[in-house]
Amino acid sequence: MASNIPGSERQGHPLLHVQKLSKHYVRGRGWGKSVAVTAVCDVDFEIRSGQTLALVGASGAGKSTVARCVARLERPDSGEIWLDGTDIARLNLRDLLPIRSNTQMIFQDTETSMNPRFSAAEVIEEPLRIQGASRSERRDIATAVMREVGLRAEWLKRPVLEFSGGQQQRLAIARALSTRPKMLILDEALSSLDLSTQAQIANLLLDLQSAHSMAYLLISHDLTLVARMADVLSVMSDGRIVEMGATQQVIADPKHVQTQRLLASARAAESKFDLASGASA
């Protein structure tokens, strides 16, 4: 499936390969009556470097769970997660640490994902600090990365709260870039931005992607954005992937009823944007 994705010329080797990923949660109250809720079941997909795969679906479909498993914020119950040749699904935390720099996550609610008492520099440098980089290394990288996301290096000393919403999003991206990751997980990362900022950030992300050949795992409910950024579109429902393929193909010819429903509601909501061409008005 991956080979006939348009634009695969600029894409490299498979970076992330998820096989038969499953996770369930146990929901119980105190003294009994625990209920096992299956969040994700038998999920398979692959992302190449330089490629973007989008996971879409209704709320509760399991998209965020997949993202958290790939980022190893959670431990999958079964399955394999091959990242650049290593199965990270069952590694313990100590072995995982050096590998963490390969994947970074950008969260939906940017503001709360950064400690309000920190300065921009402290926020950006945090992953490096955890990895054990020296102060001068951290400072150099922070400065470079600030510029890459379009912010001025002098602002490094400012407290995080003094930045606007869009700027904070850039800070979050800068933080993610600091360890030179090979893959970024964007968990509804643009959902809380206004449309023009969203467009700017989306452009920034695309530029960064081609500059660094990063793979993106994009979680979103916004099909316009997905149409714009993703090469592969994967539709999830009730913890399983029900349809997957090249974005334009899936949009043009949805085969599964869930996909059709999603598209229908997206079309009902949108008025100005042209879904088929992926251009914004």
């Binding site: 995982l96 640490l97 955890i130």
Partner: protein, 337 residues
Amino acid sequence: MRAKTAILIVALVGLHLTLLLAGFVAPCDPGAQDRELPYAPPTRLHFVDASSWHLRPFVYRWNAGPDGYFEDKRQSFPVHFLTSGPAYKLLGIFEAKWHLFGVDEPARIALLGTDGFGRDEFSRVLSGGQISVAEGIAATLLALLAGTIFGIIAGYYGRLTDESVMGATELFLSLPWLYFLLGVRAFLPLHLSPARTFLLLTCVIGLIGWARPARLVRGIVLSARSRNYVLAARSFGGSDFYLMWRHILPEVLGLLLTQAALLVPRYIAAEVTLSFFGLGVNEPVASWGNMLSTLQQYSVLVSYAWLLAPAVALVVTSVIYSILADTLHSRLEFRST
């Protein structure tokens, strides 16, 4: 900075500095007895004598008479400032002889009168204050340290650890404080060297008081633990210790400061109460508590009002700390929202 805060800071610093330099500020040796002068009223400062008006105050000796003490106006003794007097140990280390003020022998300057053994009450209030306030601060530090450690552990690791720690705090909090204090004190040796007693009291008061700080710290840790930036830091590979140190502990510091300001006066009062009952610091070492215990005899209580000086000192200290606590509370609580 507002005037109120400035006054508060001056009061705080003044109080602690005076107590720290008690040996210097006090004119007499707190332990020096004078059997000729028991229960003498406060020495009166005079500025005017038969001839004229003086800038430098002077005093007369007290003589014991059939109706009590009267001033011996035959000889006046001027008050000297920055004079040498009985030796003492500054900060417990350096030998020194300079005092802020004093009078020549054989006169005594007892600004707050003398007690039953003729000891200068003013000097004793100062040196007793050293003990009582130091005790309060030490116990507070211990309680906060223990409370923070347990609170962080309970809040961070949750579930079973949390339940057990919270159960323990409920145990400690469900007992009436003074009964508990007495009980624990009951089981420990009554007569120890002053240094050991000090340590003992610190441990007893501090270790009983860990429960409330622990609960408060746990609350903060619980809410901080689930914050997104903590999750993010974990996704970068941050260890438990890193998360606690870098993200959670700073949240706790504000609370700890306010709690410290609240607890210090309470623990000073605890030491005073214990010593008052004879369960704390014992003679001959002075503490505000054992100085007040002589007042349990009604005759002393009624006739020699100046012996209430330690109570006044205690109230002043408590009020200053109370205002500090209020100020800290309003300053720091707004940050956390």
